[in-house]
């Protein structure tokens, strides 16, 4: 499973990179989101995979199962997801505004702004 997941993560990154290299701004954002999905999965996998119940501590006894899924990467991913959500929302608004002002979604049109 780890090998399969590693390949899937690689694929997600590849998809992200490919989309980032397109000229469309929508695809740019899609690419970023693929990147961020891949990263979340990567953190999860590198923390170690253990199938089973969600981990809750019980009174007195320390852990539920003998081989629990590491809770810390989960917390990290959770934080990363929320942060990612905020930034994605902002990026979407930026895209919307960009289109409003320039009337295009072609990133190559950004060229002018720079070489003036």
């Amino acid at each position: 499973m780890e090998i399969l997941l590693a390949i899937v993560i690689g694929l997600l990154y590849a998809a992200g990179v490919y989309l980032l290299l397109r000229r469309s701004i929508v695809k740019l954002i899609l690419g970023i989101m693929f990147f961020s999905h891949a990263t979340n999965l990567l953190i999860f996998v590198s923390g170690g995979l253990h199938k089973g119940q969600p981990q809750f501590a019980n009174d007195g006894i320390n852990a539920v199962s003998s081989n629990p899924t590491d809770p810390l990467p989960q917390a990290l991913i959770l934080t990363a997801i929320v942060i990612g959500f905020g930034i994605t929302a902002f990026f979407l608004a930026l895209m919307y505004r960009f289109y409003q002002v320039t009337g295009t979604e072609d990133l190559d049109d950004l060229k002018e702004g720079e070489n003036k």
Binding site: F56, A93, Y96
Partner: protein, 137 residues
């Protein structure tokens, strides 16, 4: 979307989502849930309401401006760091008190809970702000 049925549903659902969100928020310390999920759910009710009517009505229903929700959230989060100082502990130490409330039983209150409340309010405010603003465009 502005059909009467939907509007009715939105109006009725609003208190339900709010109570549900508070529940999810409070449970969060022991079971799945917590400030972020709770805040999201609280926002969901208003978003649905705004879709049924419009954002202005939803904001009116909210009574405070979303920005104030945000400010309140940040403030609670900030205030939750203070008890530790009065207790002479390092910054952000969780300080707990136990209350025995009739009917509900033993209720444990602590600064982390207050902090989570801050998260709840902030997330609520943030999501409403974002969605409403985008919807208004």
């Amino acid at each position: 979307m502005k059909s009467y049925i939907v509007q009715l549903a939105a109006t009725r659902l609003l208190p339900v989502t709010l109570i549900l969100s508070l529940l999810v928020f409070y449970r969060g310390h022991n079971e799945p849930g917590g400030g972020f999920i709770g805040g999201l759910m609280a926002a969901a009710g208003f978003i649905f309401y705004a879709m049924a009517y419009d954002t202005a009505k939803a904001e009116k229903k909210l009574r405070v401006s979303p920005l104030m929700l945000i400010v309140a959230g940040l403030s609670f989060a900030f205030i939750s760091t203070l008890p530790s100082l009065f207790a002479g502990n390092p910054f952000f130490t969780g300080e707990w008190i136990s209350l025995n409330i009739p009917l509900l039983g033993k209720l444990k209150l602590g600064s982390p809970l207050l902090f989570d409340l801050g998260v709840y309010l902030a997330v609520w405010g943030v999501i409403i702000t974002i969605i409403f603003n985008v919807m208004e465009e």
